[in-house]
Amino acid sequence: MTAARVAPVESSALREPWKDIVRQRQAVELGMWAFLASELLFFSGLFAGYTIYRSLYPQAFWEAGAETDLWYGGINTAILLVSSAVMAVVPRAARWPELGLFARTMLWLAALLGMAFLVLKGFEYREDFRQHLWPGPDFKLRIEGAELFFAFYWILTSIHAVHLIIGIALVTRLAIAGARDPEWFAETPAVRATALYWGLVDIIWTVVFVVIYLPGRGG
């Protein structure tokens, strides 16, 4: 197996127009980081809006922040941190065919953690609806600006959830395809790409957690 990697031309992971799997991997790595920069800018629009409104309505954002559920938020943050640690192991292991099974197990574990996150998120959303935290006529808080906070709460968390769903789909696909073709799994740049994407989803959540769940605690 190691020999196959030294002569990369025969790699089953090689795609047109590449002649060399190492170059191909470098290209995917660069493309992925450019994409992640793009994704950061995508979220930056939301964070900019949040920051501006928080500077305009500090008190309302403080009070509204206290209405979010820190238990759900905190546990979900921990889950995502664990999942990205798990994901960090994958590319380090996947390139050794002997460790392929271990890497794929880790992929499944990360996907499961991601799903756990989504399930908790679902419960949290249900709870929020019950408490009338959806902006509108029967919104729970009266103070001006609190609805803006929750508008950002819903949009930030749901767009993040969409990213996570895409991440879970990518991870699952990689695990299944990897099981079918272990040789491809050891070579393909898709492993790194998926892991990078997963990392981004966690990075975004880290910031979301801080700005959404932590304000307004402890008076």
Partner: protein, 104 residues
């Protein structure tokens, strides 16, 4: 760009060796998370608390990017692209606040 580095190390690491470093970092990050949550309940000014939260978040992000996502092993080009996102976010924030911060 250093690319992937596997060609030089012919010796396959043990699972333990692979897992060790991410596990330690995870431990640190979980402690940071606990600290961050704990700090939110301290009876100090919101401004200080928010500042602390953001610093901890920034450190968490740095750990995820550099160690979990292996940015530490990458060359200047990748660093440039990873950093460009942050620079452009800084441009957005800086100039958008030239309006909101300077309104009479």
């Amino acid at each position: 760009m250093s690319g992937t580095t596997q060609r030089n190390d012919k010796n396959m690491p043990t699972i333990g060796a692979i897992v060790r470093r991410p596990a330690w970092v995870l431990l640190v990050l979980l402690i940071a998370l606990a600290l961050n949550i704990g700090a939110a309940f301290l009876p100090v000014s919101p401004f200080l608390k928010t500042g602390f939260h953001l610093i901890v978040a920034a450190l968490t992000v740095a750990f995820i990017a550099f160690i979990f996502m292996e940015l530490e092993k990458k060359g200047p080009t990748i660093h440039l692209f990873a950093g460009s996102g942050l620079v452009w976010i800084a441009i957005l924030f800086l100039l958008i606040f030239s309006d909101y911060g300077l309104r009479p």
